[in-house]
């Protein structure tokens, strides 16, 4: 679906965790035709002197009710403005934007890994995967129990495993430490969270590739063909796809503000080539 400017209406707004909000908007044009991993660029109020839109992952989309949700933390005047919205308020969104997660049709077991607000980046993929009959394990990392995403907001079918930095609930330590247990089970992994977390996952994924190879995907006819790095086909073959974050200007690829460094030495636009990348597309050690 091509992007468009959509006038949406706030349906529901609630603070689900301290400083974290879940808002639902009536936006039929976005609710159908959006894929997991894509995002919307949302305009803030004009009165506040804010000149940039705010990008939000599409947290969930429901074509039946014509609603989408976004999940965010209040970190400044823009996000605080959103919390002041009331049901019925109109909000201008540009979307859907960016490229989605690419799930291989043969993948049965999906491992989702989210760090903090990264939940918003992978949340919709859980819905899509379960709809398609896949098994989903969601590993979630947070600072402490008070920041843990409520399991009631996840589909029942999801196996939900938690790690907290202080051990107040679940595994004590980083969420990445849970990953090795699941790497053999998982056909593909999808992650969103702080850059160091994603970089650690990329290292794990590279190690897995070295140990297990790509036997699962490599024995079909045509498997020897090379596909262009970054193409949907190449991403479908990747074990790990990550949803990246970067300060963003236009969100359509015009301003080149939101780049990360790609392995070929060419900057990649998070808004256009991303926000989802196969882990092997990203130059994790470039210092960018």
């Amino acid at each position: 679906m091509t992007m468009r400017l959509v006038r949406t209406e706030l349906v529901d707004s609630r603070e689900i965790l301290p400083g974290q909000w879940l808002q639902s908007f009536h936006a039929p044009a976005l609710a159908s035709g959006t894929r997991a991993g894509q995002f919307v660029h949302v305009r803030t109020g004009d009165l506040s002197g804010l000149v940039l839109r705010r990008p939000f992952s599409i947290n969930t989309a429901d074509p039946v009710s014509g609603t989408i949700t976004i999940h965010f933390r209040t970190i400044g005047r823009g996000t605080e403005w959103f919390t002041s919205l009331r049901a019925g308020d109109a909000v201008d969104m540009l979307g859907p934007l960016g490229r989605p997660f690419e799930v291989d049709s043969r993948s049965r077991h999906l491992l989702l890994v989210a760090g903090g607000l990264g939940m918003a980046g992978v949340r919709y993929l859980a819905d899509e995967a379960i709809r398609d009959g896949r098994q989903v394990t969601l590993l979630f990392g947070a600072a402490s129990a008070r920041d843990v995403y409520p399991s009631s907001l996840l589909p029942d079918e999801v196996e939900y495993v938690i790690a907290t930095d202080d051990g107040s609930v679940g595994h004590r330590g980083f969420v990445t430490e849970l990953v090795p247990e699941y790497e053999a089970w998982a056909d593909q992994a999808f992650a969103c969270g702080p850059a160091p977390m994603l970089a650690a996952l990329a290292r794990l994924a590279a190690g897995r590739r070295d140990r297990l190879g790509v036997a699962r995907l490599g024995r079909r006819r045509g498997a020897g063909r090379t596909v262009a790095l970054g193409s949907p086909a190449a991403r479908r073959k990747a074990f790990l796809q990550v949803s990246m974050e970067q300060n963003m200007g236009c969100a359509v690829g015009a301003c080149l503000g939101c780049v990360i460094m790609g392995v070929g030495g060419a900057p990649q636009r998070v808004c256009r080539e991303g926000p989802v990348f196969a882990a092997e597309e990203v130059a994790w050690d470039s210092g960018w």
């Binding site: 400017l5 000149v51 940039l52 300060n247 236009c250 900057p267 210092g287």
Partner: protein, 382 residues
Amino acid sequence: MKAKRRVTTAKDVRVAARRTPTVRKVKPLLGLAPSPSASPAPTRARSVVARPIAAHDQPAPSVAVDLSVDLGRGLVLTNPILVASGTFGYGIEYGDVVEVDRLGAICCKGTTLKPRIGNVPPRVTETPGGMLNSIGLQNPGVDAVVDKYAKTWTGWRTSVIVNVAGESVGDYVEVVRRLDGVPGVAGIELNISCPNVGKGGLQFAIDADAAGSVTAAVRRATDLPLLVKLSPNVADVRPIARAIADAGADVLTAVNTLSGIAVAPSRQKPLLGNIYGGLSGPAIKPVALRIVYEVAQIVDIPVVAIGGVTELADVLDYLAVGAVAVQVGTAIFADPTLPVRLVDELAEECRGRGLTSHRDLIGTALPRKPGAPSAKGVEYRP
């Protein structure tokens, strides 16, 4: 000829009386355009009658407004609303969201001789009433730009002006040579004032001699319409503007971004990867207005204004201080349809004032130029 020779109603006379019509016919450029506050929303027909001179020439009640802008060397824009370099990519990125053919012109992303990967991120951040960017001229190089986009541009009614940057005079000249004669390239905008690159860039814009020589060198290399973009990061822009005009530029663009920095939330380092960025958006409008005001009074070539345009009032302000057209930049990010809407709103504004062209709105806030000494003046000198 007295102003009120036409048959008018009492209401028309009242409106006309509020409008100080006498100066208008002498010098439209310097004349006082009726201010909107003086005539609250007159209807179309009434305002035509109310302006005796226009009414005399054009009795038709529905005024066709001519928004075209002649920038010289055959570059005539259909309207004075351009989109600024760096905010609109190569014109294709916004897809169906923006009707590109309704724009006055597109200034494309800064283009250099060789590909550039640009600066380390973060590259953008919001600031009060504006934003800082330090893209660092990321672009695929002039040859790739021509290969990839020029064909698309030829199919557009909108003029595409290629923004050109470089590190040396030779760079600028070579890029322009490669653009000269390429179908789809309607003009060149020299970016001699990019604050976000280490070498070159800004140094040409802060020195009148350097600005003049790069302009002259490019002028010799092409007959394309040549716009030169001024930097606000100088103590006095006027000698630089004059040098650029004298060196053969067709148009001055004012202004590029203001140099600035932001601090990371950790307070342990500057926020932008490049440390320095360029400030744009409504925050810089008073600075840009001042520079347009200063430059428009001392050069004879057209000035295109840029800096914080977010609504029609901003366009009217820039026209009033002598700009013939404006570029919209940062505001596109929040409101991609703004430039096209401004075209409609400007036309409507002209119609509302009974003007057949926005040209009557240009320069109204500039000081009156002293007229040529007349024989009559001499006679009456004591």
